[in-house]
Symmetry: C2
Subunit: 353 residues, 2 copies
Amino acid sequence: MSLHGGDIYKIYRETNIKVIDYSANINSLGVPKNLKKHIKNNINSLVNYPDPNYIDLRNSISKNIKIPMENIIVGNGATEIIFLFIKTLKPKKTLIISPTFAEYERALKENGSEIHYFELSMDEKRFFIDFENLKTELNNFYDLVVFCNPNNPTGSFTKPEEFEDIFRSFPNTKFLIDEAFIDFVENGENFSFKKFRNSNLFIVRAFTKFFAIPGLRLGYGISFDKEILNKIYEIKEPWSLNFFAGSCGTVLLEDKKYIKKTIKTLKREKLRMLKSLNKIKNLKVFESHGNFFLIKLKKITADELYENLLKYGFLIRKCENFKFLDKTFIRIAIKDNKNNKKILKTIKKLIDY
Amino acid sequence: MSLHGGDIYKIYRETNIKVIDYSANINSLGVPKNLKKHIKNNINSLVNYPDPNYIDLRNSISKNIKIPMENIIVGNGATEIIFLFIKTLKPKKTLIISPTFAEYERALKENGSEIHYFELSMDEKRFFIDFENLKTELNNFYDLVVFCNPNNPTGSFTKPEEFEDIFRSFPNTKFLIDEAFIDFVENGENFSFKKFRNSNLFIVRAFTKFFAIPGLRLGYGISFDKEILNKIYEIKEPWSLNFFAGSCGTVLLEDKKYIKKTIKTLKREKLRMLKSLNKIKNLKVFESHGNFFLIKLKKITADELYENLLKYGFLIRKCENFKFLDKTFIRIAIKDNKNNKKILKTIKKLIDY
């Protein structure tokens, strides 16, 4: 289960070190104050089952993203939504635009899909899609294409308009677009694939990263295909979001102050980190539209840097288990200024000697 | 989605009535104080992903029920555990001892099992198992038998010893025993099927009802079959319990005061209610080992009583959608003395005229 970043519990059990976690891409502003207040004031509501239809939550999301409530399905983190969609669709042949988040592959394998990978080339495209190549590949009849946008772990971001021709050209292919990081893009909502309102499209969203609540488990899906939504509801377990997850959507989405501050802080820290990273000789950093950076190391391996940084109390994400990446790649989150400075100084010391 | 009790949200949306919920079998003592304190003090931990292995939680359960941690798997309510087990086992032919909780059937149908029902007869056995008949039935080669003990909604309870002969006689059959209500049985732990430590046995447990936290989503499974546990872990979604669910086990299991008070209060209120119910002419009440009563109405239908009680602010569970029950059955929870008196007085008024 070390498929993902953020397993600080295992690290703590094994090393007794309480690390600063640069391996999970979580908003460094931390749990929103309004959410804390909401939870404190509503603990007694645990005595009731959650609303199995999560009407209030879906209503809040609907108003916020301007998509009808009936097109929105909520889940126990984006993960539940991804698993439900793939289990329902049961695609025979899938193309995953890679390197990317590992759970798509897990869900696909579990449901017996043949999996192919479309490589985002580092050298020629710096991990952006080569649309001509993609179009050629899609002539091989895929039931499903999976694409994470902004992409984890590369940070690359594709505007929906660039994808429009692909949708039109392959009307028999479904597209799973994971927008778990889109809130970190300035005016991200304007760049969502939702604008196509296309029944071949299934969009995944998460509250996790932006609102710094991976412990809460809250995500949702957007679909314009009634049939697939009905099928998902047929197999969905009741009450998969607990009361806190189910009731906090409104509080979070209305917290405009937190949202603004996040975008502003991230923009500033991203620029600062990028500048500093570019000054470190023995690595190459990639432009990112997320709240993290993918980095290629030139001198030492990810394993070595990982072990050394752990001694300084920093946990980073090794990227070897991402398809098409290898032992030279790491991913680090963008956190608060003080810690960012510290980790970059340490990295510089560890690799530019 | 009105398969279950407790959907107070729908009632509120449709009628604007905030009901007293006798339809869900939740401990009337409410959310434990220690749990509230724990949650208030740990909100900031939402910033981390839950421990994907839930070591602390499984450790607490292990100590408490005296079963090794590796035999315990935790889930988002008992429901996730039931679904995972059935999905992993994929039984071709299943016998459900009925009437009982509806989610087994849903999970089995989803996984393509042929389903048969073994009827707990009301007239001859007052919903207790006729073991001779069961043995005869099991000669028809079942992959899985599902049994809820104490059984929801009948309240009947079978001591594990009575089942022992069945286990021995059918070594090729698996048994899913749902003990979601066993904590309400005095010294219930002594009557758990866990004592058999048999690899054909899969036991389901829940924190939901006893600790009055259906909003939290916390359950677990006990298995002595390593192979099946490994297979479940392969398909389990990571982090299906959120931080609060994953971190409160210790607090709850160590709250001996709450546990004792629950058993004591329940015993007293159950007796009081039983006495009063027996004084109402136009119904028949069944002995219960849970925190609820199954009742057969003699004069009016469950629909009529349901609608009438709603006018008085009480929500009850109609039982028509339980296999082998019909429009004359209702289930009511055992709650606090004041409300119990009120609802019984109202029922008497509504049916003994």
